[in-house]
Amino acid sequence: MENLTRLIIQILKAGRATRSYPTTPDPAPPGFRGQPVIAAARCTADGACATVCPSGAIQLTPAPEGQRWAIDYARCIFCGRCAEVCPAAAITITREFELASRTRADLEGVVYLRTPAPAEDRP
């Protein structure tokens, strides 16, 4: 068969590969490492996540009534180490990847944790 004919058949068979995203949603497959999300109620302010984060995206700092846990999604490299090391399984790696934002501030995720006072301060 002539080369051009084979080519035309190939083109017709290939059809249209482009998907109409975002009109049609295109969810990431299971196992995809997307946005890490914290369940504040489970967090014990252990700090392992902040220590192990390769890009320093997670900060755990004192706050008026306990601690402030903050993640900078612009620094996050979506490696999943935070969830791996959390002793309280408080961090979930979701499949969310649509994280584009109009402002830098929007890329920060913050939760406030009420932690009990340290033992040596209690009467």
């Binding site: 080369n3 290939a14 390769p54």
Partner: protein, 533 residues
């Protein structure tokens, strides 16, 4: 490649070779399998390297500069050479006094050392005396002369000085009607930055000067001080499309240093994913060749298939670029959807074959590819080119064969070679390697061993360089790691395949016409990010 029988123990020839060159060499402690180390007086350095390179027939792997002044007042230089036939390497080491920062250049006798020594000049401030091309390489001319960031007394976390505006110094071509066409570093497309100056008279290119290192990010400095386990995340971000090769070379170096190789299942998974990486790169690159000549059906088909392969990466590992899977000691997670992957790969293999069939049977494609961008075998060999570019010019070197890793020893990997050295040859090497990759993937899937995914890492001896080598889609990538007593990275040297191959691209261009340059460039398909770090 058939490995000749070697009746003598590994390294037996080395002392005679060095003594014959009149070099006083002291054997240093070797800890890694396949490693031999010789310390020579600084003045004997070029002679020792020449002896190993020529008389052992050992190509240069990499050169590592290291600031050890805090320990012994000197900078250490290590020149590593690969003795392929014996599956080992030889390191020739010398020390440069901290107060006399100069060393005799090895480049005049081992051409492949040229960029390594210029890099040491820029990043350590050690003068390579006698280097035929001592221009700035990694740090462009606008950086302050006294700024040598890989010295330990330059703090890592202070931003580097902003380079002042400066001209690019390059050898000019003079003559009636000769003009220069400067291209880049900003290009008309979403591609990496590099600067190319063509000198031509009419359509024919007389000379090409290339300037890279616009994406030099200081990755090696960034890695210093990181816990060894974190180093993986640095390694796999050196480049996008070689991410898995880089992370594998890194973890292999660390595991070799610890004496604890990854368990069989992890080795098999790494082998599988190295071939996944090869597949999406090679098939995408063949599509890019078509883009370079305006053969739209080929470039569309290539892009379609590459996208399907990257989606496969995501479905099997969770990441389109295969990041986040390797860890020191093994792999972090199990693979998923393998039966689906196997079925998809069979379909993609057929469609790729159809795409290639139409492409190579097209007269217009043949006219552009045949005889274009010839890289002479002698040039490839002298400059230490690796991978597809070298094999298309006659080399039989494939590190899956001479530096067995993963499951490769159990798979019959063939080195794919061509002799013509033109764009067509490099395209054919990719096509054939992709076909072999489909077969290797099927074989690995057939025999994935059971067992744990990781082993605990053994103790890491301090201040001992470890080498990891992997065949990335573009060729051998070599990672050298030295660890401090506290388990953090002390020195990290990455010599990617593009670093070895970029220097030979300008040799393949003269004599061709200007529109052939993008095609020739695409036929090498080298990463700038891998090279620049």
């Amino acid at each position: 490649m058939v490995l000749p029988e070697s009746p003598r123990p590994a390294g037996a020839a080395d002392p005679q070779v060095l003594a014959a060159a009149g070099v006083r060499a002291e054997r240093l402690e070797a800890r890694l399998p396949g490693e031999t180390r010789w310390r020579v007086p600084l003045t004997d350095l070029p002679a020792a390297c020449q002896a190993v390179h020529q008389h052992l027939g050992a190509p240069l792997i990499t050169v590592v500069g290291n600031d050890r002044r805090a320990h012994d007042g000197t900078f250490h230089l290590s020149y590593l050479f690969s003795v392929d036939a014996e599956q080992r390497w030889v390191a020739v080491e010398a020390q440069v006094p901290g107060d006399q920062p100069a060393f005799p250049a090895v480049t005049p006798v081992v051409t492949a050392a040229h960029w390594h020594e210029r890099e040491i000049q820029d990043l350590f401030g050690l003068e390579a005396v006698g280097h035929p091309d001592p221009r700035r390489l990694v740090l462009h001319e606008g950086y302050p002369r006294a700024y040598h960031p890989l010295r330990k007394d330059v703090p890592a976390h202070i931003p580097p000085p902003v380079p002042a505006p400066h001209p690019f110094v390059y050898p000019r071509v003079e003559g009636e009607g000769v003009f220069d066409v400067p291209v880049g570093p900003i290009h008309a497309g979403v591609i990496e930055p590099g600067h190319f100056v063509f000198s031509g008279a009419g359509e024919r290119i007389l000379k090409l000067e290339a300037r890279l290192f616009f994406t030099h990010r200081g990755i090696e400095k960034l890695a210093e001080g990181q816990p060894v386990a974190q180093g993986v995340f640095v390694a796999e971000r050196i480049c996008g499309v070689c991410a898995f090769s880089h992370s594998t070379a890194y973890v292999q170096a660390v595991e070799a240093l610890a004496g604890t190789p990854a368990p069989p299942r992890a080795q098999a998974i790494r082998t599988l994913l190295l071939e996944f990486e090869r597949l999406y790169n090679h098939i995408g690159d063949v599509g890019n060749i078509c883009a370079g000549i305006g053969f739209a059906p080929g470039s569309s088909a290539g892009a379609r298939l590459k996208e399907r392969l990257q989606e496969l990466n995501e479905v099997v590992t969770g990441h389109r670029f295969l990041r986040g899977i390797n860890c020191v000691g093994g792999v972090r997670r199990e693979l998923t959807n393998l039966p689906h992957a196997a079925a998809q790969l069979r379909v993609i293999k057929t469609e790729f074959a159809q795409m290639v069939d139409v492409m190579l049977n097209s007269d217009s494609v043949r006219q552009r590819l045949d005889g274009t961008g010839v890289l002479a075998a002698a040039v490839a060999e002298a400059f230490g080119a690796v991978g597809v570019a070298a094999r298309a010019s006659g080399s039989r070197r494939d590190s899956r064969i001479y530096h067995p890793h993963g499951l490769y020893p159990a798979l019959a990997v063939q080195a794919t070679t061509r002799q013509q050295g033109d764009v067509r040859a490099r395209t054919e090497v990719r096509i054939q390697e992709a076909q072999q990759a489909f077969r290797l993937v099927a074989e690995v899937l057939d025999r994935l061993p059971d067992g744990p995914l990781t082993v605990p890492l053994g103790p890491l001896p301090a201040y001992h360089g470890a080498l990891g080598r992997v065949e990335s889609p573009r060729g051998e990538t070599a990672h050298w790691v030295m660890v401090a007593p506290d388990g953090t990275i002390y020195r990290y040297r990455v010599r990617s395949a593009p670093y070895a191959n970029w220097p030979v691209v300008p040799f393949a261009v003269p004599g061709n016409m200007v529109p052939d340059f993008p095609l020739i460039n695409k036929s090498f398909e080298l990463c700038y990010a891998c090279c620049d770090r």
